[in-house]
């Protein structure tokens, strides 16, 4: 150990601090400096290095256990020498058994399934206060923990236990340094005073205060502004329930309460005994050497051992023998009386013996019922024992569980002694300790048995996780001309065809009917060809119930298929609350709301699209309009995805030109947005790219030559393929803008998408003002993805920038070919009207969940800018910012 003279030589920091001389400050600074150097040097040590030091320290603790116990009793006049030997041995041997195989240096834990590694960082300098009740054992315990964790410690023992603690520190220090520990790793404050403690508690180089002691010390530690482990007083309630093994319980309580004359703060304080066994228990106590106080004796006892002013125990009684206390009080007891037992009638200041008593005096309470017993235990727990320790003796698991529920204690010891049980590793598998964390109830930061891991900063090395993704689509998709014939293979007793009036009128329903499995009862439910309303859904569900449908065929555009999806949901799960299911979410995979899995009906769902755009036949989305509230409810869940999709182009051959263009561009937007989405994967990319290729090749043909079977077929497939991509990768900001704009100005969805598309490509291809956090992608790739699309389309270009520009040009050319208005202005919307609408449009677009998967996080001002670019139209789509000029 470093002497104060040496320290004084090295440190000259004469600071004026109340109650401390300049010399004393220099001394304290020297201790800290010494410890800081030791801790710094210690940081280089390996696990093997520290383990090599710990073992001989433990052996030294065991060898010196009796010597230190004797010193402690001689100096403090508290406790029992023989018990203190046991404490010293537990502090050495039991603690060693716990720590010996623990990793406390470098990597201490690997969690490969979570891609996490935990690593240890020492704290550095610890300032440790040790108590008078368990002086040397606490020092041994803390020294072993400190070496195991590569920390240096400055000890400040209780002044009345200084000599024995200094000796314990010396033994530990010399052994540690002899086996390689850094010089100065432990120091013991000479003649410690409260100002010393205050100074060190606030010292900038002290990393942690570990205060074991009375409430004052603990409070000072926590008030210092430093991280602290402060563990102190308790008030252990014990419930001795009628099913308990009384013989074992009585012996355990005597063992615990008399151990070191009751100085362990986890020892039993008030035993609440069921009425049925009360007399038996007291008789057992008496038989085994306890004295049961009568009412008069109890009064005498409480007046003597409890301070009437503070209500706390008298220090002079702490750690004294029962017979000595009895003599002092004036009780006549048998020689060698182990324990004084005082019946009490309640808990609180009017029942002085219901508080903590660190000496062999035990209060007992007779309870008429389990409920009363638990209430009294709670009262004791709240009378100074919150967070500390409690004990229950019972064979009734329900009683034990209830006791654990209602009692706030870091350690709830079952059918074993409280004090030794709480120390851990003797009667149970608790971590061995000499410091009991009491949680917030006790003003502490932990409820743990303080151990090596509280002496470490634990660092978590979190590697990037390859989040699991999925690709979910209907398990059966039939496509190309006459694919509807596949309906035959689906047996059904009762099928409902949900469709629109127009489709029934032109004979599409009859085509479907012809191919339904024979002997099926078929019913047709005609609904308006518009976004489904609640009333329509309700009527649909009534029909499904009436006909006991086991198969639903949705024949129509996106609205009809959406309606059928919601009908099926309500048919199978009538309790489903659509408003609740439409709750917002950030990531569909982590959504809070769960869709119903228990179903009262089951029906196969077959979707047959009659437009080539929405892809609703394979998507997990459905939109419902509640006319009463004027709200739209968007539902999204893979359980909404149809079981079977039949993508038969015969149902789109008669689509008018305008609808062909609108739905075709909707399909292109789906594919382009899924392609650059933050949720894009190789699975969605392959679909997105293929859909884009098909649209650029076949949409102009389908538009110009509606009867071209191949073009219609390929566009019908493209819509379905694009939908498979965006069902899993979602869409982006283009859809958010189009939703807001389309709803406000009554513009068809595909047309609204078309107005935004070139500008959104340019926007996403530029360096984002704000990146979107995305665990699924590596780096920013949107511009490169667009370049890949340009390559796929053979648009030419040598650099990413050139390719993006060519893609924008090709998109604009396609829109021209399809006869789209190329600006919002062209729609006849005046600048003034648009200017008035834009702020609200931007707000609505920002609230739209569609952009959450967009590669670039749209700022409100950027949404406004995009709207204005769409207003200006052609030529406004320019890539701002530094897109890479390198070739790809």
């Amino acid at each position: 150990m470093i002497t104060s003279e040496v320290v004084k030589e090295r440190v000259q920091i004469p600071l004026a601090v109340e109650g401390l001389s300049a010399e004393r400050i220099a001394y304290l600074e020297g201790l800290v400096s010494q410890a800081r150097t030791a801790a710094a040097v210690f940081s280089q040590f390996t696990q093997q290095d520290v383990d090599r030091i710990v073992k001989p320290m433990v052996l030294a603790g065991l060898e010196q256990a009796q010597h230190l116990a004797r010193l402690a009793v001689d100096e403090t006049r508290l406790g029992v020498m023989e018990d203190k030997v046991i404490k010293n041995m537990v502090a050495s041997e039991f603690v060693y058994n716990y720590v010996k195989d623990k990793r406390t240096v470098g990597v201490i834990r690997e969690i490969p399934e979570r891609n996490l590694i935990e690593m240890a960082e020492p704290i550095g300098v610890l300032f440790s206060l040790t108590p008078i009740t368990n002086p040397t054992s606490t020092v041994l315990f803390k020294c072993i923990m400190a070496i195991k964790t590569r920390n240096a410690v400055i000890f400040s023992p209780h002044p009345k236990a200084w000599r024995c603690c200094a000796e314990a520190v010396r033994i530990m220090y010399e052994t540690a340094v002899h086996h390689g520990a850094p010089e100065g790793v432990f120091t013991c404050l000479e003649s410690p005073t409260l100002p010393d403690n205050g100074y060190l508690m606030k010292h900038k180089d002290v990393g942690l205060i570990d205060a074991t002691g009375g409430p004052g010390v603990v409070k000072a530690a926590y008030s210092s502004g430093k991280p602290a482990l402060g563990v102190g007083a308790g008030n252990t309630p014990v419930y001795l329930e009628k099913t308990a093994d009384v013989n074992t319980a009585v012996v355990d309580i005597i063992v615990s309460k008399t151990f070191d004359n009751g100085t362990i703060c986890a020892s039993e304080q008030t035993v609440v005994i069921d009425d049925e066994i009360y007399d038996l228990v007291l008789k057992k106590f008496e038989d085994l050497g306890a004295h049961i106080c009568n009412e008069k004796e109890t009064k005498l006892l409480e007046r003597t051992v409890i301070d009437p002013e503070t209500g706390f125990m008298q220090p002079m009684a702490v750690g004294q023998k029962a017979s000595d206390i009895a003599r002092f009080v004036g009780l006549s007891v048998k020689p060698n009386t182990k324990l004084l037992i005082a019946p009490i009638q309640g808990v609180g200041r009017e029942h002085p013996l219901s508080v903590e008593k660190l000496f062999p005096v035990l209060a007992v309470y007779r309870a008429k019922s389990v409920a009363e017993a638990l209430r009294v235990c709670v009262d004791v727990n709240h009378a100074g024992g919150l967070g500390h320790t409690a004990v229950v003796f019972s064979r009734n698991d329900e009683v034990i569980r209830k006791f654990g529920e209602v009692i706030n204690a870091g350690r709830i010891i079952v059918n074993s002694p409280g004090s030794i049980g709480a120390l851990g590793a003797v009667y149970n598998d608790l971590v061995p300790t000499f410091s009991f964390g009491c949680g917030t109830g006790g003003g502490n930061s932990t409820t743990d048995n303080v151990n090596v891991f509280h002496y470490l900063n634990i660092k978590r090395v979190a590697r990037r996780t390859q989040n699991h993704m999925w690709f979910r689509v209907p398990n059966q998709i039939y496509f190309n001309m006459n694919a509807v014939e596949n309906l035959r293979q689906f047996p059904s007793l009762s099928t409902i065809i949900v469709t629109s009036p127009a489709l029934e009128q032109i004979g599409h329903v009859d085509i479907v009917r012809r191919h339904i499995c024979p002997k099926t009862h078929v019913h047709v439910l005609v609904i308006p060809d518009a976004e489904p309303e609640v009333k329509v859904i309700t009527q649909g569900v009534e029909a499904l119930n009436f006909y006991k449908a086991d198969q639903i065929i949705a024949l129509g555009g996106g609205s009809v298929i959406d309606a059928a999806k919601i009908m099926k949901l309500k048919y199978e799960s009538p309790e489903a609350d659509l408003e609740y299911l439409a709750a917002p979410f950030l990531d569909l995979r982590k959504r809070v709301v769960e869709y119903p899995t228990e179903k009262v009906n089951r029906a196969r769902f077959i979707a047959i699209p009659t437009t080539s755009g929405t892809g609703s036949e394979v998507t997990p989305f459905a939109v419902l309009t509640d006319k009463e509230s004027g709200r739209k409810v968007t539902l999204a869940d893979y359980s909404l995805t149809p079981d079977v999709a039949i993508v038969d182009p015969q149902f789109v051959m008669s689509m008018p030109k305008g609808l062909t263009a609108d739905t075709g561009i909707d399909c292109l937007t789906h594919a382009l947005e899924a392609g650059v989405s933050n949720y894009a994967s190789s699975y969605t990319d392959s679909n997105a790219m293929q859909a884009i290729r098909l649209v650029f090749k076949y949409l102009p043909i389908a538009y110009e030559h509606p009867g071209d079977e191949e073009a219609r077929c390929m566009m019908h497939n493209a819509a379905c393929i694009a939908a498979m991509a965006f069902s899993n990768a979602s869409v982006g900001v283009n859809h958010a803008l189009a939703h807001a704009f389309g709803a406000r100005f009554g513009v068809a969805h595909g047309r609204a998408n078309a107005l935004m598309l070139p500008h959104v490509i340019a926007y996403n291809a530029a360096v984002p003002t704000k990146f979107m956090p995305s665990p699924y992608t590596k780096g920013y790739t949107a511009h490169k993805k667009y370049a890949t699309v340009a390559d796929l389309l053979g648009l030419g270009g040598h650099t990413v920038e050139e390719k993006v520009k060519n893609l924008i040009a090709a998109t604009e050319q396609l829109l021209d070919q399809l006869g789209f208005p190329r600006s919002i202005a062209e729609l006849g919307i005046s600048k003034e009207e648009f200017e008035g609408a834009v702020p609200e449009l931007a707000r609505i677009a920002f609230d739209d969940p569609s952009w959450r998967s967009n590669p670039r996080m749209p700022l409100m001002a950027e949404l406004v800018e995009l709207f204005w670019k769409a207003y200006e139209g052609r030529g406004a789509a320019k890539v701002d910012g530094a897109v890479e000029h390198t070739s790809v």
Partner: protein, 89 residues
């Protein structure tokens, strides 16, 4: 200009640092101490480095520590000595 260049051997870090301290007297230019072969330092070495820093400050000499491994660098950081030296690889 390098005035003094010393290789610091791990087995005699303290002696080497004392020697360096003595050579600081009257030198002009940098003193470079090569720590490439030092894997660890102990408390006495920390004290010797503190002393060298003190002498260098007094004599206004710049001391450069070369090849200090990160473990030793961390010790110097924890003891607040890094600000007293320059470091090169």
């Amino acid at each position: 200009m390098i005035a003094v260049f010393l290789n610091v051997d791990e087995t005699r870090v303290v002696a080497a640092l004392r020697e360096a301290g003595e050579k600081l007297d009257g030198t002009e230019g940098e003193t470079v101490l090569d720590f490439s072969s030092v894997r660890r330092i102990d408390a006495s070495a920390v004290r010797a480095i503190e002393e060298l820093a003190r002498v260098a400050d007094e004599r206004n000499v710049k001391v450069v520590l070369r090849g200090v491994n990160v473990d030793v660098y961390k010790v110097l950081k924890l003891t607040k000595l890094t600000r007293r030296f320059s470091f090169v690889d």
